[in-house]
Structures are given as C-alpha cells and as structure tokens.
C-alpha cells in the first residue's frame, strides 16, 4: 500500500495533475448535484429531457430566467449542460468499465495461455482494429437505431481491442518474470497466478490509457451526437446541444456572434471535461514512466 | 615531462529537488604518460563522474564547481586546462585525444547504424585532412586508368580531383561547403567516406575481429557481446588517442571474454602509446592491468599508490577493508560494516569515519588531506599519515 501512497504523493506534487483532478471533481460535483442545481420542472417525467420554454426556433440570449440562454427550440442551455455532465459521466464510465473488463479478460487469456488462443484473439482484434473507429461506430449505430444507448454499445465494441492488446502485451512481459515461475513452482493454479501475481503488475499501463481515454470516449460520443447519430433531440447531451447550434453560428447580419452562447458554452464544458481527464492521465503516465522504464 | 593529466581540487555538485549532492569533493589525481591508472571503488563513489568531468560531459543538474584538469596533449606544448576550454575546443579533444569506452557495449552502439558507419564517424570528424589527402591520392590514381569506361567518366574524376585538391589546400574551402549541400553533387565527395570506411575496417582488424569487411556492414544487434566490445574499443582508439578512459569495460561480459578484452586493451595501449584511466570496482582486474591505482570512497580519493605497493601495503582503512572483503579460498569474506553515506547528508570530517575501526576525535571533525607517506604512495587519513 505504500506504493499507492507514493503515487498519490507524486500526483499532488505535479501542478498539472492537480488542475486535472480539480476539474474532474468539479464536474463530478455538478453531476451528483444535478437535481439540485437544475431541478426538473413539475410533472417532468424524464429528467434528461431538457425542458422547453416555448417553440420558437430562435435561440434566446442569457437572461434572468435562463441563465445561459436557450438554444434552438427554446431548450434551456443551463439545464442542458448540467444534466449533460451526468450523461457524459455515464457514457464515459460505462464504456470505460466495459472495455476494461472485456479487454482485461480477453487480454489476460491471450497473453497468459499463448498459442492458438492467443492467435485467434489477436486476429479478432486485428479485424476490429482494421476499421477507423468512428466509421465502425457509425455503422453499428445505424444498424441498431440511433440513441445514446446504441452509442454506448458501439463505442464499447469499437474500443475494447486496444485494451485487450495492451493487457496482452503487459502480460507477455510479466509472464516471464521470476516471481511467476516461483508461484508456479509452488503449485499455484493458473487463475491464482493471473489474478494475484500477473495482473496487478500489468494493470498500471492500462490504467494510464484508461484515464486518458475517458476523454476520448466522451469526445467520440459527443461527435456521434453532433452528427445526429446519438442522443435524440432535446436530450441533455453536450454533443446534442452543439448540433442545435449549428444553424446559428452565422449570427445575424451585423452581429456574427449573436448566438455565441449556443455553441461556446456546451463546447467549453466538453473541452474542460476532456482536458481534466487528459491532464490526469498525463500525470499518471509521468509518474509511472520511471517504473515502466525500470521494468 | 612525464605527466599526461593533472586533476586538482575537482568538485562536482548536483542540485536536485531533494538537496545538494556533493558527488565529488576536492579530487586530486595525476596520470602519467603511457601508464595505466586504475580508479577503484564501490558503485556510486564517483568514479564514472570523474571520467565525465574530464570530458566535460557532466549531466544536468550537475555542475563542476571548481578545480582544474590540466591535460598535456603532446610533449612539446604546455598543458591545457580542460575546464576552461570552449565547447568547440573540448569537442575537438573528445574522441581524438581523449577517448572513452563505456560500460555496456550494447548500449554504446546506435542500433540503426552499421558498425563501420559508427567507427567511420569518428574518423570523419577528427581526421579530415588525412582523409582529404587519401581521397586526392585515390582520385589521382583513378585518373590514370585507361580504357573506354575510364575515358567516359574522366570529366567526373577530374572534378573530383580538383575538389579534393581544394580541400587539401584549405580544409574549409567555400567550394566544398557549397558542393556538400547540393544532394547530387555531394556524391562527388564519396571518396572521403570511402577512405574513412577503409580505416574503420583496418581498425576492426586491429581489434582482432574476424572478417572485418563483412562485420563493418553489420548492425550492432547482429554481433555477440564480445564483438560489440571490440567494436567499441576500435571506435575509441581509431583516432590514435593519447588517453583512453575505460569505464568498467568488462563488467557486462563473461569471464573469458573479459580476459580477452583486457589483453586487447593492454596490447593496444602499448602499440598506440596511450595512457589509460581504467575504472573498475574489481580489485583483481585492477591488479592485473594497472600500473598505479587510486582508491575512491564517497566522492573523495583515499589512497593512491603503485599497484604492487598498494596491494602489498595498503594504508588507508578503507583500502584495507576492501581487500579483506575479497573472498579467498578457505577464509570467510569480511564485509565492511555500515552503509555508504547518503551523498546529500555526508558525515562531517573524514567521510569514512563512521565505518572505520580506528577513527578518533580528529577524524570526526576534520577532513584529511592527501599526503605522501612513502615515495609515490599517497594517503588521505589522519591516522596513517603520522600526524
């Protein structure tokens, strides 16, 4: 456990990681306290549906009633970005969790047992990796019908191969280490060896990648929503909000930035969210590097 | 004038987040012409750092605080203080007058270039004029060839010859610089690389590598450890260096290869009339190959003497303890009690006193200076100096 303590200590010393953690904590608080920060109005069934104040397509600037303004169709932007934080975390954590589980499972099997099992799993990952991620995700979403859930499924399908490969590589490296031989010599079963000895050491680089990737996953989900393939209209999702703003970036003649709030506010939320995870992942990598180098 | 290198008062400190590391403190050392000087000590005592300081390659956050390193390049001219030279001047010395062989031969060779290329690089850097002359000769010879083909390429050969002539006349002639930049014309200068390659192959032969023409075209990963070591030695000595610094060159090798490498170094040293600074932690190797030996502990020199003198009559407590620690058949090895001090929080006075059997009051307070106890035998110890 002192290793963990050392890790946290180094994390604290690095200013960029402090910023990253702060950002993520802020977003986490927003997400947790969403019902308080932006309470759904009376009789509202689905809190993720942004409440509409009228049906006019023209966005309204920030005012007393709508702190951050409204976007096309009079959806409240403030509400949208607050609850959008929740959906962002949902997407990010669910997808990342699933990927890690699948990736670790398949990667461990491939790495530890080697031989034909390894070959088969590697070919399968090759096939998935042959597709540019967004394209494959698009195809899957189209096939299953666009919605946030299909986006999650598509992203899981598209991203697990990278992690399987990563874990496999790490396991291949640790497999030959002496302490694994020792454990085997003492009669430990394969399962025990994998879970107790091999995995804990290989998992570090996967964690680094995971923290960096949550940002990428949220970006990809936002991109799919932006393209109209993700969250349905009016759903509290950052990408969706930006899709709304697309028609309004030209502004009014004479005031090109008239509707700046429709595009800049949701965009900033995405930017800082992803930035926070990237900074954190970067700091992880810097800390882990000397250890990786020693291996 | 027998001296080659005179180090006086060399102090190197590292400025790290955790504090100031006093890596080398007031190091004084003399190396003479054509002698092999061994620098012995535990890992981390500063031996390699001394070598780096001579080359002015101390990595940041290290800084050479003070001191002087006087180097006598040849018997005619006076000494140069290496620490006061400009970047350009010290670069001219590195690789040609002072060469280095570092610890791990695999690490020392760049994996993406051939052996021949890497050796030739040193030649191209330091022996341009010789190469120019040789190239000119070769160009002249090619001009004298007869036959149809020769007649066809004659204008090209003439251009080459003129170019080389200019180079011989003025090493940095404008023409050569212009031609050197233009890709197609640059090929006219191919003979220079060619000659460098030939010298490289010759050097590989010197270090007893079989089939040198073929090996020169190999990449480092295709050679065994021993061959790589020879190549590194070839690379260091190819410019007829006066002073070779060998930093634990055999540590990473098998014992048999070790013996061969030592033999090679010994032979080459005589042939090229070089001096060698041989850094090692292995007392046996030092005894084998060195003329004089210096013992280092925690950044300072404890004792310097001729090799037989040192082994027969070690004076400093640390040296005595080192020798006792070497396992001999039938005897129990005796470890030295205590641990190497933290370089940031060094003990006051003599650095060795916490582990010394005969330490007294003065050892705890004052740092001892080096004094000549018997002719040629220097010790830094309050007790052994007799006051």
């Amino acid at each position: 456990m002192t290793e963990l303590r050392l890790w946290l200590h180094q994390l604290r010393k690095n200013p960029l990681s402090v910023i990253g953690v702060t950002l993520i904590l802020i977003f986490a608080i927003i997400a947790i306290f969403a019902p308080i920060l932006a309470p759904p109005p009376e009789g509202h069934i689905d809190p993720y549906q942004i409440p509409r104040d009228g049906y006019s397509p023209v966005p309204q600037p920030p005012s007393e009633e709508h702190i951050l303004g409204t976007t096309q169709g009079q959806y409240d932007i403030y509400y949208g970005v607050i609850w959008g934080t929740r959906s962002a975390f949902q997407v990010g954590l669910i997808v990342m969790g699933a990927i890690l589980v699948i990736g670790i499972f398949l990667g461990s099997i491939a790495g530890y047992f080697g031989g034909i099992v390894d070959e088969i799993i590697m070919r399968v990952t090759d096939v998935f990796l042959a597709f540019p991620a967004l394209i494959l995700a698009m195809a899957i979403v189209v096939a299953l019908g666009p919605s946030l859930n299909t986006v999650i499924i598509a992203l899981i399908i598209v991203s697990w191969p990278v992690y399987a490969r990563l874990i496999r590589g790490d396991i291949l490296a640790t497999r030959e280490e002496d302490y694994v031989e020792a454990a085997r010599g003492l009669g430990a079963s394969n399962f025990r060896i994998i879970t107790r000895h091999v995995l804990p050491n290989s998992i570090y680089s996967a964690l680094v990648m995971a923290s960096l990737d949550i940002g990428a996953i949220v970006l990809a989900a936002a991109a799919l929503s932006f393209l109209g393939l993700g969250a349905p209209e009016g759903y509290a999702d950052w990408g969706q909000l930006i899709q709304f703003s697309r028609n309004w970036i030209v502004g009014i003649p004479g005031n090109p930035l008239a509707y700046w709030y429709t595009v800049i506010i949701p965009g900033l939320f995405i930017l800082f969210f992803v930035l926070g995870w990237n900074l954190l992942g970067d700091a992880f990598r810097d800390i882990l590097d000397p250890r990786l180098a020693k291996r | 004038m027998n001296e080659l290198l005179k180090i006086r008062g060399l102090t190197v400190r590292f400025y790290t987040y955790d504090g100031v590391v006093r890596a080398l403190e007031d190091v004084n050392l003399d190396i003479n012409q054509q002698e092999t000087f061994g620098l012995v000590g535990e890992t981390g005592c500063g031996k390699t750092l001394t070598a780096l300081a001579i080359l002015r390659l101390v990595p940041p956050p290290g800084k050479i605080e003070c001191g002087s390193i006087h180097f006598y390049p040849d018997s005619k001219n006076g000494p140069v203080d290496l620490l006061s030279l400009s970047e350009k001047e010290i670069r001219a010395i590195r690789g040609s007058q002072i060469s280095t062989v570092f610890q791990e031969p695999s690490a020392a060779l760049n994996p993406v270039y051939t052996i021949g290329d890497q050796i030739a690089e040193a030649i191209l850097l330091h022996q341009r004029q010789e190469l120019n002359h040789k190239a000119l000769e070769a160009a002249r010879m090619s001009l004298m060839k007869t036959g149809l083909v020769a007649k066809l390429v004659k204008p090209v050969r003439l251009a080459e010859k003129n170019l080389y002539q200019r180079l011989v006349h003025n090493e940095h002639s404008v023409w050569s610089r212009i031609v050197g930049r233009i890709p197609v014309l640059r090929r006219l200068l191919w003979r220079i690389r060619d000659e460098a390659g030939k010298i490289a192959i010759q050097m590989l032969k010197e270090v007893e590598i079989p089939d040198p023409e073929r090996v020169a075209r190999y990449y480092p990963h295709q050679l065994s450890g021993g061959m790589k070591q020879r190549s590194v030695i070839a690379m260091a000595l190819v410019c007829s260096t006066r002073f070779l610094i060998a930093d634990e060159p055999t540590t990473a090798l098998d014992v048999t290869i070790q013996a061969q490498s030592l033999e090679l170094i010994r032979r080459l040293k005589t042939e090229f009339e070089s001096s060698v600074l041989y850094i090692t932690h292995d007392l046996a190797v030092a005894a084998e190959i060195c003329d004089r030996v210096g013992v280092m502990y925690a950044g300072s020199i404890c004792e310097i003497a001729r090799v037989d003198d040192l082994y027969a009559n070690p004076l400093h407590p640390y040296t005595k303890a080192l020798m006792a620690a070497v396992p001999k058949p039938g005897e129990e090895p005796r470890a030295i009690g205590g641990v190497v001090p933290d370089p940031i929080k060094l003990p006051p006075g003599c650095r060795f006193h916490p582990r010394c059997d005969i330490a007294t009051e003065i050892c705890r307070e004052q740092s001892p200076t080096m004094r000549e106890v018997t002719p040629g035998h220097f010790v830094a110890c309050h007790i052994c100096q007799g006051g």
């Binding site: 070919r123 393209l227 | 994996p111 993406v112 065994s224």
Partner: protein
Amino acid sequence: MEFRAYIIRRLLLLIPVLFGVSLLIFGILQLFSPVERAFLYVTDPKQFGNIAAIIEKYGLDQPVWVQYGTWINQVFHGNLGWSKVVSQPVTDAIINFLPATLELALFATPLIIFGGIFLGSKAAAHKDKTIDHATRFGAILGWSLPTFWLGLMLLMVFYGFFSGLLPPERLSIGASIVVHSDAFTRYTGLNTIDAILNGNAQVLGDSLRHLVLPVITLTVVNLALIMRLMRSSMLESLGKGYILTARAKGLDENTVVNKHARRNALIPVLTVSGFIFAAIVNGVVITETIFNYKGLGWWAWQSAVNLDIPSVLGFALFNAVLFVFTNLAVDLYYSRIDPRVRLGGRMQ
C-alpha cells in the same frame, strides 16, 4: 532472405484479417430485415419497384452462409448496392467523392506528420524550457478539443468576420463553373493539382482558400498526438547510452540530436502513423460535415443520418480494406528503417 520471408508472412496474414473484416460487415448487415438488405444488390433505381424479385434472386431468405457467398460474390464484382442519398451506385459514389477527401488528406497529412515530428523534437531537445512547456500545453489543449467544436468556431469566426475569405465547401460558384466547363480538364479530380496542370490561377487560389479551414480543423488534434509521441520518444532516445558515446566522440549537439537520437525516436512514431491514417478518416467525416465539403466523409454522414445502409456499409468496408493495406505499407517501411526487424540473427 529474411526480408522476403517477412514480406510473404505479412501478406499471408492479410487474408484472415480481410476475411474477418468481411465477416464483421456481413454480421452487421444481418441486423437488418431482408427488405433493407435487398438495397445492397440494387444497381438501378428502377429495381426498387420490385424488391421481392431481388430477395428471390439473391436468396436473401436463404441460410446465412449462402447469403454470405452471394454477397461476397457481389462485392468482388464491384457491386456494393445503391446509394439513395446521392442516387448513384455505391461504388461510383466512392470513386466520385474520393478525390475531394484525398485532397484534404494530402494537405493535412504532411502537416501533421512533419509538423508533429519537428515540434516534438524541438520540445524534447529543449526540455523544461519555454518552448517545451508551450508545445506541451498546446498539445494537451489540442488533444482535448472536440474537432467539431473547433471547426464550428473557426467557421463562426471566419464566416462572421472575414466573410468570403475562407468560405466553406470546396469551390465558390465562379470557380465551380470553370472547373466543370470544357476548357478545364479534370485530370485527377483534386482541384489544386488540376488547377496547376491547367495553369489556372483562379481555380488554384479559390480551392486553396476553401481548403484552409478544413485542413486546420483536421490537423490540430492529430498534430497534438504526434507531437507528444515524438517528444516522449525523443526523450527516451536521448537518455540512451549511445548518445553519451556520440557526445564523447566529440560530435556537436546538433548532430547528436538529429542524426543519432532522432532516427531511433522516429521508430515508434512511424508505428503510430498508420493509425494517423485512421484518425484522419475519422476526422474527415466530421470536418467535411461541418464545412459542407462534399467528400467521402460528407457522403458517409449523409448516408448515416438517412439510414442509407448500403452506403454506410460500403464506406466501412472500403475504409477497412484501405486501412489494412496502409498498415502493411507502414510495417514494410518500418522494417526498412529498423534493421533489427529486417535482419534477425547473430554472428559469432
């Protein structure tokens, strides 16, 4: 000898991968109903009137492996179905939209790769100094930016303030007329190259202006990635033993960094460059959508939103095959640079 064996081995490995790719596409295809699947076999809009006949003809109610056979057969004959979004056979659509996207990629790729390598090396060589911090900050920022947001912002600014300077789409109306006229020969379909070949400055200038913003959008995110990779790779390379040896030989710092460190540092960067191709394809969909730039990405987006299945699947298949071959090319080039891969074995 070794090298040839290596090439053959890699080529053989292609087959199962391509097979797997086709299986995956086919699998996704099976998620649709027979009627929808029938669209993949349509070559002529008139056939839409008689879907039942198509189902019959291509056995779309037959067992799965039979269907796979028919489908693969069609694919090899170049029939990927009909794209209702652009009213052309899918294969034609791919061929027609390819030049536009190629042009975009042509400008973006060197910027990304060379820019990234250059900035990454500089940052590594001057570690912890201003330029290092600046590039690192820029890299993290660039990597966190949503591409589509960047594109929108650029569009907003340039459309709003510098109207007409860097407009969306491929060509303005005037230049478009010129390009489609008889006086202008379209050799490649890439407007810039064609303009040069035709000696037409107006079209050249116009198409370049339209390219600026999309290229920037496409480049920023990927440049950040390459830059960071190059930096860490260089730092690792600079810490190696042969660098100390090179310095001890008397080489000047420039040569040490550029000749010795860089070549080794490039190796991991090269492996990634195959993935850069994928990243560009991903980015192209978004970029073309935002700027209404009618290339493959734009077509893919239109197809996806309109649930035009043949187009989406055809596009995915095309990309996968292209990607597999690009990776092969990268691998072969990589083995040329790193002699350890090319020549195994030791000599005693």
